[in-house]
């Protein structure tokens, strides 16, 4: 049995030592940590080799990581955790429900009598599109996506829900307003077409990514185009799902000609670009043979 010294990642102070064998896994060490520190559970414990940086995976063993007797590990409490899937469901159910509620022109948001006024075709179609988008997201969360992580910090729930639910009301209020003016027919049709292409493309990419990773595994492979023509975008960008998502929201903005929708599109695009750049960098680091011509999110540009 060898000793593993556990230090506090924040202060660097030595906390306690654990007993371990070369075959002991990180998860077992985490369970030992939880016995020494009440209130912790393995899901919120991070054990890492340096004060800053990523922690080791649960399934790794001391032997597989090349750690010997007397090694030191830093302990970080990641805070209360919540299931990844739980957060996604809350994030997407909100916009679905809230937009439909706004569509009825309820009294907290609009004057009395607003509900009786006529509703433009554009507003009805926009409502259908929004609903389809978030229903699709909910179904994907339940049946399509394979997640790399089980949990995330609880504070993310409040942050993410504020973003999605807040923007939903911001956009829905304006599109469903009695004084909403729809764009000219050609623009409207363009918007609907863009939205449809974006949704189909996004779904195609999610499906292809699912096929890439077998059930129950955490394997990572380079995505490549498949039979589905929408997946051809893989040849041009690392994250075509984000590209198609942007196309969807661009379509929505065009079909409603609504500035709040445009702001929502811009905000989403900004965040997705940040994510795409990170993913692109990771792909290139992980696969030396990663195709050179591919960009992160915008073909030929970024």
């Amino acid at each position: 049995m060898s000793k593993v010294e556990i230090l506090h990642a924040g202060s660097g102070k030595s906390l306690f030592t654990l007993n371990a064998a070369p075959s002991t896994s990180i998860l077992e060490l985490k369970k030992q940590v939880c016995e020494k520190r009440k209130g912790l559970y393995p899901g919120r414990v991070d054990l890492k080799p340096k004060q800053r940086g990523k922690g080791y995976g649960d399934s790794d063993t001391l032997a597989s990581l090349g750690l010997h007797a007397g090694t030191k590990l830093y302990l970080k409490d990641l805070g209360p955790q919540i299931g990844w899937v739980t957060v996604f469901l809350a994030e997407y159910a909100g916009p679905l429900v809230l937009y439909l509620w706004c569509f009825t022109r309820p009294w907290p948001l609009y004057d009395a009598g607003a509900a009786a006024k006529p509703v433009t075709t554009a507003a009805k179609v926009a409502c259908a599109c929004w609903t389809i988008h978030y229903a699709k997201r909910l179904l994907e969360t339940l049946f399509v996506h394979r997640f790399s992580h089980a949990t995330m910090p609880l504070s993310n729930l409040f942050k993410n829900c504020s973003y999605y639910w807040g923007f939903t009301v911001f956009v829905a209020y304006h599109v469903n307003h009695p004084l909403f003016t729809p764009p000219a027919r050609p623009l409207f049709i363009t918007g609907v077409v863009l939205f449809t292409l974006g949704e189909l493309g996004n779904l195609s990419i999610h499906w292809a990514l699912r096929q890439l990773r077998p059930a129950g595994s955490r394997v990572r492979r380079i995505p490549q185009p498949t039979v589905n023509p929408f997946t051809a975008l893989f040849s041009a960008v690392s994250c075509p799902n984000y590209t198609y998502e942007f196309v969807s929201w661009l379509g929505f903005t065009v079909m409603t000609q609504c500035l709040p929708a445009g702001l929502f599109t811009a905000a989403g695009m900004y965040q997705m670009t940040v994510w795409a750049l990170g993913k692109h960098r990771n792909y290139k680091k992980e696969f030396p043979e990663y195709p050179r011509g591919r960009k992160a999110i915008l073909p030929g540009v970024l």
Binding site: S11, G12, H174, H177, L179, F180, T181, Q257, C258, P260
Partner: protein, 367 residues
Amino acid sequence: MEDAVCPFVYWSQTKTKVHLKIDLREVKKPDVDLLPEQLVFRAEGLGNSGNQLYSFTLDLFQQVIPEETQYQVSDRNVQVTLTKEDEEWWPHLTRQKTKLPWLRVDFDRWRSESEDEAEGRDVMSDYPDVYDRLLQEETAPRDNRLNNFRESYLIMYNLWQLLGFAVILGKLAFRYRLEGEDSMLKAYDTVGVNMKLAQGLQVLEILHPLFGMTRGGVLEPLMQVTGRNLMLFVVLEGEPRMQTKPAVFYLFVVWSLVELVRYPYYTLRIIRREISFVTWLRYTIWIPLYPLGFITEGVLYLRALPYFEETGRFSLAMPNAANMAFHFPTVLKALLLCAFMPGILVVMRHMYRQRRKVIGPAKVKQH
């Protein structure tokens, strides 16, 4: 026997030794305890906090040979020399790379080391990067010429702003002497232009940390400048009836008093001097002035709301081409609730923490 304070300690090193110069006078018998990886020092003497017990503990970067430790007490300081276990360069003195406010690099000793060093080698030529990096971390960034430009520019900016706010206070005081309380209704008329100029220019203070010209975050200046400019350029400028409210007089006075302390403090920081009274003012005057400012601004915002409901200024009604409605009074109310009120708590907590770090907690007198 606790409540000891840390003295200023200056450290330098050679390949084989670590030197500590402890800034304490009139020390009789210091306690210097060495474990291979830790130094504990205790002594009664005269230091930056007066005549009292001083002590510090250092977790050393690598092991030293305790038996070969030497120390020397002189009139002006206590010098401790540690012998390293391994002849290696230490990137920092302590095991953790934490910044201790009382521990500094002894640059004078470091530089002269290369001249009269018994080992006969120019330490700096071996490790020029380390010296430069330490100098950088101790003082300010970049290459010397650029640094001089940065410092000159910042000094000029701070002094210019100081002048601006001094003029504002001066004009307000002068007019008050002449016209008495009546002048309080005319503050905007008296110094409105000066204030707009000075506050407008403060936008630069967001760019300074953004471009690495000063340390500190971007968020604090962003919050202060946005808050003040919203009041000045939108609420006051956008409604003439607000400009004759007496609260504006108080607002301008409070803002100016805060700046009259802040800019000199920053200037002293840049030229690396300290006047303890200015430091004390900087970290104390917020205690009465921030709440006063908060109340005054709150009063003005609340009084402005009905005017903006009436005039519809800064509001956008539907229908319009962007399909967006913007009701300024509602947005202002939301901002007051979600940004202004939590903001004052955040800002005051931040200043309180800064005060504790710089001035220290309330000292308990030792009997």
